[in-house]
């Protein structure tokens, strides 16, 4: 099985138990770098796929919460090389990982080396929020050579023809951004969410995971009725920020 197929399989496995897949996001090394592996293990024990955020100096698609966590992690010396070293120490987590990174840290790391280290550390795919499809051929080629997936984002602003193109290009799953906005917005999920998620789901054979604005069990249920999975980012980072138990919070989303 190619690495990106592990993502699809993990999401389908959750669905076969009658529930949406839960995809938690954490900023790597936040709040404390030396707790990263323990935090990741705790989160991976509940999540079906875990999204590991690579901190970046200019997180232009992120709201205050993820910006804060990102700057704090950078201040404490977190880097992509360090993250791979930590993942190596963590060993096999059974739960497949995806990395969320802006392009420049990946570019600086080098795509071939990136694909090699990802494959060796249980990372099955990448989400790159500032890399539109049109600019993605080099990274896509390097990842595909190792069976890794480049996960495409689609949004409510995406026209129908583009939606089909992005869904075809995506690997592992399709990331449906629920709102026109940045992460961590306070306005909750939009009213026309169901139609939007249904149209994304209809565009692809892959599972669709919805993200942005998911904070509570009712949001997960709401999204789960029209998509295969729910991505929980800023709300989980806030839990980590407060020093609360991330696993308990994630369990509460399933009730």
């Amino acid at each position: 099985m190619a690495a990106h197929e592990r993502l699809t399989a993990a999401i389908r496995a959750a669905n076969s138990k009658g529930q949406p897949a839960l995809v938690p996001f954490l900023t790597a090394g936040y709040p404390e770098p030396d707790e990263f592996v323990d935090t990741l293990r705790a989160i991976a024990a509940v999540g079906d796929v875990v999204e590991v955020g690579i901190p970046f100096s200019d997180p232009m698609a992120d709201g205050m919460t993820i910006q804060r966590s990102s700057f704090e992690a950078l201040r404490k010396g977190v880097s992509l090389a360090w993250i791979f070293d930590e993942l190596e120490k963590a060993g096999d987590l059974a739960t497949p990982l995806v990395m969320m990174s802006y392009l420049n840290p990946l570019l600086a790391f080098g795509y071939d080396r990136l694909a090699e280290r990802a494959l060796a550390t249980g990372v099955c795919g990448f989400i790159v929020p500032d890399l539109p499809f049109e600019e993605s051929s080099e990274l896509r080629a390097a990842l595909e050579a190792k069976g890794l997936g480049l996960i495409q984002l689609v949004t409510p602003a995406t026209p129908a023809a583009r939606l089909r193109m992005l869904s075809d290009a995506s690997r592992g799953f399709v990331y449906a951004v629920t709102i026109t906005g940045i992460t961590g917005g306070g306005s909750g999920l939009p009213d026309d969410l169901a139609d939007y998620l249904d149209s994304v789901s209809a565009s692809t054979e892959l599972p669709v995971c919805a993200g942005f604005g998911i904070r509570e069990a009712k949001d997960v249920a709401n999204v789960g009725a029209h998509a295969a999975g729910a991505i929980v980012g800023s709300a989980l980072v806030e839990v980590l920020e407060r020093g609360d138990d991330p696993a308990a919070y994630l369990e509460s989303l399933r009730s």
Binding site: S57, N104, P105, P132, T155, R162
Partner: protein
């Protein structure tokens, strides 16, 4: 270190530039440029690109734009001979006076052009970022002129050091939004403006102020600013009797420099861009992106940026808010890589001294950004006596009074040569 292309490739790209073929249809200036934006903004960028194609060179749009430049901006701006400065430096010095344009800097050329475009594209409101505040003031004025609401994102650090401009923006009807995240300067302001744009990509027009960012902005801004170089070229022929040997412009994002250089690329003229050398050569001590940076992706474009080995963008230092930026326009990256334009830096202290000298000799209070071009031109003149030079006087220094008052006038500097 500087990034250079192999000679044959460099020549081919330079030829393509001179034929007006760059950026290509992917928004590339050779290896640089492109469009690295969040998916939510892709349709907005496609609409903008379509709008630029449809309107920018349309006769009706151009007639309206040229009329606004003439009757509202006050163009053409003067070309001024600087006889006393020439005597000091030993070169024949000419100044292209963008400080005389409405609102006090070249920024207005781009702001009114894009505001007219925003109107044609049916935008409900305009957002803009600003560093020194000149683009914020220009955007506020241009939006008032065309009747669109305007919000300006400005770093908290810049709000403090450019206080007079903050008040001007508010009086011109703009909302000024303080950006407290990131480095709290221009880069953070652009990030925050992009975040706002993502919330309403169809209703908002983002009026970007420099020749930076994702395609089509570097192209659009160059086209709107090229009036500087077109006028200056003709004025040099008419007033000075010929083209200059060398042309100097300060470079932050690089909009005044590209506007001045682009129409002169085909001439036998040495073109020199001057970046902010800050207080030293170390990472974080300056904003000399082209002189000391490496290629990477920042805020929508593949260009030269100041970054560490992990690809994290570094904070910059400059006494001038308008040059305090970790990236640079992608076309400048190409012009450097082809060797057509030389990029150097001038430090804070030399720029302050040059500002003072220009005040004393020619009665022109130039902007701190612009002062960097003078500082290097002065040094260049000492090595090239007798040459004729042109300096892009991109803006006036009134906005810099809060900074300048910290540096008392040196006694005797106004006592004549």
């Amino acid at each position: 270190m500087t990034f250079a292309l192999p000679a044959a490739e460099a020549q081919a790209l330079l030829d393509a530039t001179l034929r007006g073929e760059l950026p290509d249809d992917r928004g590339r200036f050779g290896p640089f440029g492109g469009r690295y934006v969040p998916e939510t903004l892709v349709p907005a960028f496609e609409r903008l690109e379509q709008g630029v194609r449809e309107h920018l060179h349309d006769a009706g749009f151009q007639a309206e734009f040229q009329r606004e430049l003439r009757e509202w901006v006050g163009r053409p701006t003067a070309l001024t001979h600087a006889p006393r400065l020439s005597e000091h430096w030993g070169t024949e010095v000419w100044l292209k006076r963008e400080d005389l344009a409405h609102t006090g800097a070249h920024k207005i050329n781009n702001a009114i052009g894009q505001a007219l475009l925003a109107k044609r594209l049916g935008a409900r409101r305009v957002i803009a970022e600003t560093g020194a505040g000149q683009h914020g003031v220009a955007s506020a004025a241009a939006c008032a002129r065309v009747g669109l609401p305007c919000a300006v994102y400005m770093g908290a650090v810049d709000i403090e050091r450019q206080a007079p401009n903050v008040d001007r923006m508010k009086r011109l009807g703009a909302d000024v939004i303080a950006v407290e995240t990131g480095d709290k300067t221009l880069r953070a302001a652009i990030d925050e403006a992009l975040r706002e744009w993502v919330t309403d990509p169809a209703g908002i027009y983002y009026l970007l102020g420099s020749a930076v960012g994702a395609h089509p902005y570097p192209y659009l801004v160059r086209e709107l600013q090229s009036v500087i170089g077109e006028e200056a070229r003709q004025q040099m022929i008419d007033q000075a009797g010929g083209l200059p040997d060398a042309v100097f412009a300060c470079v932050g994002g690089g909009s005044n420099a590209i506007g001045l250089f682009y129409p002169l690329l085909g001439d036998d003229i040495e073109l020199i861009g001057v970046e902010a050398g800050g207080t030293g050569d170390g990472l974080g001590q300056n904003a000399a992106t082209l002189a000391t940076g490496t290629p990477g992706v920042l805020q929508g474009a593949y260009t030269m940026i100041l970054q560490d080995a992990d690809g994290q963008v570094q904070e910059t230092h400059s006494i001038s808010a308008g040059l305090d930026y970790s990236g640079v326009g992608p076309e400048h990256a190409l012009l450097q890589a082809t060797g057509r334009v030389t990029y150097v830096s001038a430090n804070d202290a030399d720029s302050l001294a040059a500002l003072e000298e220009l005040c004393a000799t020619e009665g022109v209070l130039t902007a701190l950004e612009t002062a960097h071009a003078y500082a290097y031109a002065r040094e260049w003149s000492s090595r090239n006596p007798g040459k004729r030079i042109l300096i892009g006087n991109s803006g006036r220094g009134d906005k810099d009074m809060p900074t300048l008052t910290r540096y008392p006038v040196r006694s005797g500097s106004h006592g004549g040569a």
